[in-house]
């Protein structure tokens, strides 16, 4: 998914690096301590510039989801149908991700856990209903 994935982007590199080690990380503001996702150059809560990447619990709740029955990009064709979830992480931030197919159908409020997989050799995070 080279056209859709921000690989080689310095802002997101630490996330993929951590995923390769089986860890879920987000940015934490060094001034006010707020956790934030997606990555941003500064803190929208206190305007502090410095941040660090910190480990968070790889678990959350499905805030909402969509099931794609149409591929809007050629590289998504093999995946159809696929489910995208917005996860409300237990540690606070919301994270958009792909749901792995499982026995249970996706539902708002369902508990999910992160799984660390490699797609075309690139580490990434996927979610599974638990």
């Amino acid at each position: 998914m080279t056209g859709l994935s921000p690989t080689g982007d310095a802002m997101t590199a630490p996330f993929f690096e951590a995923a390769g080690q089986g860890r879920l990380v987000v940015q934490q503001c060094s001034s006010c301590g707020a956790l934030r996702w997606p990555p941003l150059a500064g803190c929208p809560d206190c305007r502090g510039r410095d941040s660090a990447w910190v480990d968070i619990a790889p678990a959350g709740t499905i805030w909402s989801f969509v099931v794609y029955h149409r591929a809007f990009a050629a590289e998504l064709k093999p995946d159809i149908p696929y489910t995208v979830v917005m996860v409300e992480l237990d540690d606070g931030p919301y994270m958009i991700g792909r749901l792995l197919e499982g026995e249970k159908p996706p539902a708002v409020g369902a508990r999910v856990a992160a799984e660390f997989v490699a797609t075309d050799g690139v580490p990434s995070v996927r979610w599974r209903i638990v």
């Binding site: 998914m1 056209g3 997101t12 909402s64 029955h69 809007f72 998504l76 994270m95 991700g97």
Partner: protein, 384 residues
């Protein structure tokens, strides 16, 4: 509490409207479409290019038809020229009123043109570059809109039949609009039989990209009186921007739309019950659901049952998008909503003409982040 001053009410009016055919215009560039619509709007206003002292262009998503490109074809140098890179006409209209009220210009052409359909613009490509959401496969406006609707269904119990009233209703309105691209009748059964495109959205819940241009001419109220058409005054306007974007926990549900609503109701002294005809920009039907609720036409979370009662359909008390909106008429980035509002208020809407509407409203948003609303009226005193 006394109503705050409304410095814009009745100061400027829409006096001309124009648009190209909507659909496929192969061989006609975005700039040409913007110009064609603009010249028609001037003609409709009883004006010529020489009467203009302002031009506000609207850069298409494809980066075309900005002020410099349209100005080159219009062939004049003007005191006030701007280009907005977001659509819906509401933002351009607000800018025009501000320019007129401030005295920077008196008669302004607002125009938009696109050829995204024949140009085969790829709306599946992440618009602002690849990010963590597109990496998960969240592409196209249907993705985020679908997340918002799925959440709405889960927390408020909104059903497909209720939500489908928007797509079905827009098609009903479009039946009487010769300009609409989609006029084939669609029943609720037809709608429900459609497969999901991005569950919970079906194809009919999302606009189809089309080519076309749309334009309006806005002038100072004093001048509007001398022109051939009944002036349609801008009675109030408000904006609000959720530019925290993805860092807003509730970015997709957009509760901040309430701020734009509260500003326009407070400054005009009007309320939802005063609106005779409503326009909501609808690249997806989710926009209509959200704005019906946040602008107070029904309670928060009550959009489903409200729609099911049929208020927004032909014959209902709150006619919504009487041209068929972006779902059934054409894409045109929401600009045709203003064109239709002016037609209805002038009494020139043909077979779909309502019974003498006096006050119209247009609510729109650029993506999930920028919201705008305008109230339009045939009476200059409304909103003041």
């Amino acid at each position: 509490m006394a109503k705050p001053e409304n410095p814009v009410a009745g100061r400027a009016a829409i006096v001309g409207l124009g648009h190209t055919a909507q659909g496929e215009l192969p061989g006609s560039s975005a700039e040409q479409n913007a110009l064609d619509a603009g010249l028609l709007a001037l003609q409709n206003a009883g004006l010529t290019v020489g009467d203009l002292d302002g031009l506000i262009a609207c850069k298409s998503v494809q980066g075309q038809a900005n002020d410099v490109a349209v100005g080159a074809l219009l062939g004049v140098n003007l005191p006030y020229v701007q280009s907005l890179d977001y659509g819906t006409c509401n933002f351009s209209l607000h800018l025009a009123v501000m320019a007129i009220v401030s005295g920077m210009a008196n008669t302004i052409l607002l125009t938009y043109g696109a050829n995204a359909r024949s140009g085969k613009f790829d709306f599946g490509k992440p618009m602002y570059g690849a990010d963590m959401a597109s990496a998960a496969g969240l592409v196209h406006i249907a993705g985020r809109a679908g997340l918002a609707l799925q959440r709405h269904k889960a927390i408020y119990g909104t059903t497909d039949e209720q939500f489908g009233m928007l797509a079905v209703g827009q098609r009903l309105w479009a039946q009487n609009n010769p300009n609409a691209i989609f006029r084939k009748p669609m029943t609720m059964a037809d709608y429900l039989a459609e497969p999901y495109m991005v569950d919970p959205l079906r194809r009919s819940d999302v606009t189809m990209i089309s080519d076309g241009g749309a334009a309006v001419v806005v002038t100072a109220a004093e001048r509007a009186r001398d022109l051939p058409n009944r002036p349609v005054y801008v009675s109030g306007m408000a904006e609000y921007a959720g530019v925290r974007g993805d860092n807003n926990p509730e970015n997709l549900m957009r509760p901040w739309l309430k701020q734009s609503a509260s500003a326009i109701w407070t400054t005009t002294g009007l309320n939802a019950g005063d609106i005779d005809v409503l326009y909501i920009q609808d690249p997806t039907a989710v926009w209509s659901l959200q704005m019906l609720e946040y602008y107070g036409f029904c309670g928060i979370g009550e959009g489903g049952p409200f729609l099911a009662e049929g208020h927004t359909l032909p014959g209902g008390v709150l006619p919504l998008n009487t041209h068929g909106g972006q779902l059934s008429e054409s894409y045109t980035w929401g600009w045709m909503h203003v064109v239709e509002a002016v037609r209805q208020l002038r009494g020139q809407a043909g077979d779909r003409q309502l019974d003498a509407p006096r006050i119209g409203m247009y609510c729109s948003s650029h993506g999930f982040v920028k919201a705008a609303a305008s109230i339009l009226s045939t009476e200059q005193s409304v909103g003041s």
